[in-house]
């Protein structure tokens, strides 16, 4: 697959979460990722956009969220950017700490980190916060499996 970008801009409304997750599902289907990977990438996108709308833009419908899917042969990189003040990731409570286990919130970023291969948060100099999430794509495995099937 040749490199290409798909960029979507949306208002800070939670009703768009299904839309953006649907876009993620379409892209990961196009990349022929397996069902589990597609599910977890879709969830990571949904969680990131939720954070951008809720915590970044504070539900201000006048503020926007930008989601960019960068498709390359070896990886899918997804950027989610908001217009908020950003946060210090190192100060987030560890959801696995026994004293935090029963907290009702604070698991979204942990899930994203679990399901994606590389996750980076950046406070942008021009304002806003951006998360970069990478999922490596291993099409070689699929080809190898087909090769083995043919050999058998």
């Amino acid at each position: 697959m040749r490199k290409c970008d798909i960029e979507i801009s949306l208002a800070s409304e939670l009703r768009y979460l299904d839309v953006i997750q649907g876009v993620s599902d379409s892209i990961t289907r196009m990349l022929e990722l397996d069902d589990d990977t597609r599910y977890w990438v879709g969830m990571s996108v949904r969680e990131s956009v939720t954070n951008a709308i809720l915590h970044g833009n504070k539900m201000d419908e006048g503020k926007r969220v930008w989601v960019r899917f960068n498709l390359a042969p070896e990886s899918l990189v997804i950027y989610v950017r908001d217009e908020g003040a950003g946060f210090d990731e190192s100060k987030l409570p560890d959801p696995l700490d026994p004293k935090n286990l029963l907290r009702p919130s604070g698991r979204g970023i942990f899930y994203i980190r679990t399901f994606m291969d590389d996750v980076r948060y950046t406070i942008l100099p021009e304002g806003g916060m951006e998360v970069r999430m990478e999922k490596r794509v291993n099409h070689k495995v699929k080809g190898d499996q087909e090769g083995e099937a043919n050999a058998n």
Binding site: L14, R15, L17, D18, Y39, M43, R46, E47, T50, L54, P95, L96, L101, L102, R103, P104, S105, G106, R107, G108, F110, Y111, T114
Partner: protein, 111 residues
Amino acid sequence: MRIDTRTANGVTILDVHGKITIGEGSAEIRNRVRDLLQSGRKNILLNLSDVSYVDSSGIGELVSCYTTVANQGGHLKLLGLTRKVQELLAITKLLTVFESYEDEKKAIASY
């Protein structure tokens, strides 16, 4: 999301249908559980077998219900977890918190 309520052997079973997500009325479960506690029904079984999707807010909602019920001296248990929900609970160590069952009869007998 839709929640149906039924009772068996003193256990209130909430059959949850649809998605438990931030935009999809995850607070409905909390409200239903609160109403049950107010009417003295403290043994609650959440049947999630027909739940199609749960996000981190939905997981948080389950935790919130669990602590609310426990603080009132009751028991909230889970039934029919899908593989995805099991994974979400497992990686955040919540399978060690929740008592969960695949079989409804065994779940009811456990109270």
